[in-house]
Amino acid sequence: MINNSREAIIAAIDHHEWGTAKAALQQLFLESPTLSNAQFVLTQLSKVIDETKRLPFKLFFMRSFTLEPVLPILKAYSALYGIALETAIGEFNTYSQEILDPNSALYRTKPGMAVLAFQTRDLLPNLWNKYTEMTPEDVQLEIDNAISNLKNLFQIFRSRSQASMVVHNLEMPSVASAGVLDSQNASSQLEAIKRCNRELLGIACEYSGIYLLDYDSLIARHGRDHWHDERKWLTMRMPITADCLHLLAKEYLHFLLPVTGKLCKALVCDLDNTLWGGVIGEDGMEGIRLGSEYPGASHLALQRAILDLYNRGVILAVNSKNNLADAMEAIDNHPGMLLRPHHFAAFRINWQDKAQNIKEIANELNIGIDSIAFIDDNPVERERVRAELPEVTVLDLPEDPLQYASIVRDSPVFARLTLSNEDHERGKIYAEQRQRLELHQNATSIEDYYRSLKMELQIAPSTTMTLGRIAQLTQKTNQFNLTTKRYSEQQVEELGGNPDWQIYSFSVRDVFGDNGIVGVAFLRKEDETFEIDTLLMSCRVIGRTVETAMISLLADKAKCSGANSIWGWFLPTKKNVPAAEFFSDHKFTKVREEESGQLWKFDLSNSSISFPEWIKLEPS
């Protein structure tokens, strides 16, 4: 097992045992996320991981209280999740100036994300301190002023910055000013704060990329009295107890991972003693523990948590050492199962090494190993996967199954900030993909296979409805992506309004169902040529000639807009090998070769790219 003492970690690093050292650092910090461990992790991790391999990201804090002690902990968490986080922090209570002044540190820092951290006592000082002296009109006035001020700030921030913003909502006091009398009153102090929070949510929802952090629930979950340190608040403006600092850092991480795209797309699940209690091969259908009564309830709760992830767009797969028939019998027919075969996109139920199974699942689903999370009750299997596939996020389950569900619910790798239709349908789409694969295996020629899919493609210019999905695809698509340029929703919106740019989304439907938007292209007009700034395709339609249909349509669009040539860069990354042959496959000519990539050109004046006959073009 992992020895996570500091001495053992330093020794592992001295012996260049990077995998062991990284896993031990991770475990040390997850078990005890203190300030000194944070510093230790950051110092040691910089020896283990090449700094350049981590994603650089800047975070700017606007705040009304001392947040500095949270930062090293947040940086350590971020480092463990592959993000090299840089933080900057504004003065106390200067967030209005920061947002209003176009030359403020906030804008000069050019952060990827900004946090607005205030407390109820700062935003609504009268309501917090003098509630018992206020009339209902005073209360409403203070809330209205605060909300309209914030709305103005949100609007200005949105117009000046493309960064995401995370805004704390307002926490309740531990004891209302009027004591129990407060609860007897429809216009109570607590009700007023709740009302303000509802309005805050309302204005945050009006702007893309502004997200609410439910600070009140976070504090309530851990206990208001436990969270608050009155002594340090009064002496150092630090309102949070030392052992709650990591909880706020972790909450920020739930925003940081989806914003940076460092998340897991799939959860690979063990079966015995994980999805149910006991071993199906030995205990049989009647013997395994799964249902609404203890102890089966622990496993039912875990399945519920996993089903919630599925509904959030996380792909599910099974990886279990079992006889296939025994395990499928339970998944198909056990009355306690919430998760059924149609929820899973891939099955590896065999006696093979689990790391090997995970590699195969990644291949089958066409996703990177680093976007897979793995859950297994057996520490030996977890260590095996960690050692063999360090990129996989391995969730450590405690011995007590009662805690399984909360481990899954608390993991930041499944955090999502928006949910598109595609996310909602993803699990289904991948399960359908499994059936497509079976069809492919039965087809006699590749053309037959394409025809049997009965694909229908639709091309559409970007609209406000599709902005979110387009931005999401630019952020998440790594494999079939020519230039791997990342765009935020705001950037897509801006470019969409620029007459020199054309942004298209491509949707594909086939015999098994609707895949939704699976392709995106950004074209930039320059004189009589069009540059393909971005062309990408979701991995779920790779290998079905959809890219040929896309480039054929784009060439037509360019020609109709008066272009005589279309050109684009292929910028190779570690992951976009599937797109490497795209330009040569479609008869583009290479005009330049540089270290960063190749420039390819297609002459439109005397040739065109033919549209695959097996795809039907649907009117948009």
Partner: protein
């Protein structure tokens, strides 16, 4: 007492990122560069967690060297 000194030195060394062998009872905010007011707050928070205690604000203002920290923790 020796054990407390050892634990405090260890914490001071990691929080301020200085080699353990350079920290002793004499070390203070004057000898350690990163020991500014924000660093001090982090040190205090860490000590409170490590020793499961809460310092009086008056003590916090005096605890700018390892010797004093150990004395406060010992009482």
């Amino acid at each position: 007492m020796a054990d407390i000194t050892e634990r405090v030195c260890e914490i001071v060394s990691t929080i301020f990122n200085v080699p353990r062998e350079e920290v002793n009872s004499e070390s203070s905010s004057k000898t350690i560069e990163n020991w500014d007011s924000m660093g001090h707050l982090m040190l205090i928070l860490e000590l409170e967690q490590e020793f499961d205690t809460q310092f009086a604000p008056e003590s916090v203002e005096e605890m700018y060297d390892v010797g004093t920290i150990v004395k406060v923790l010992g009482t």
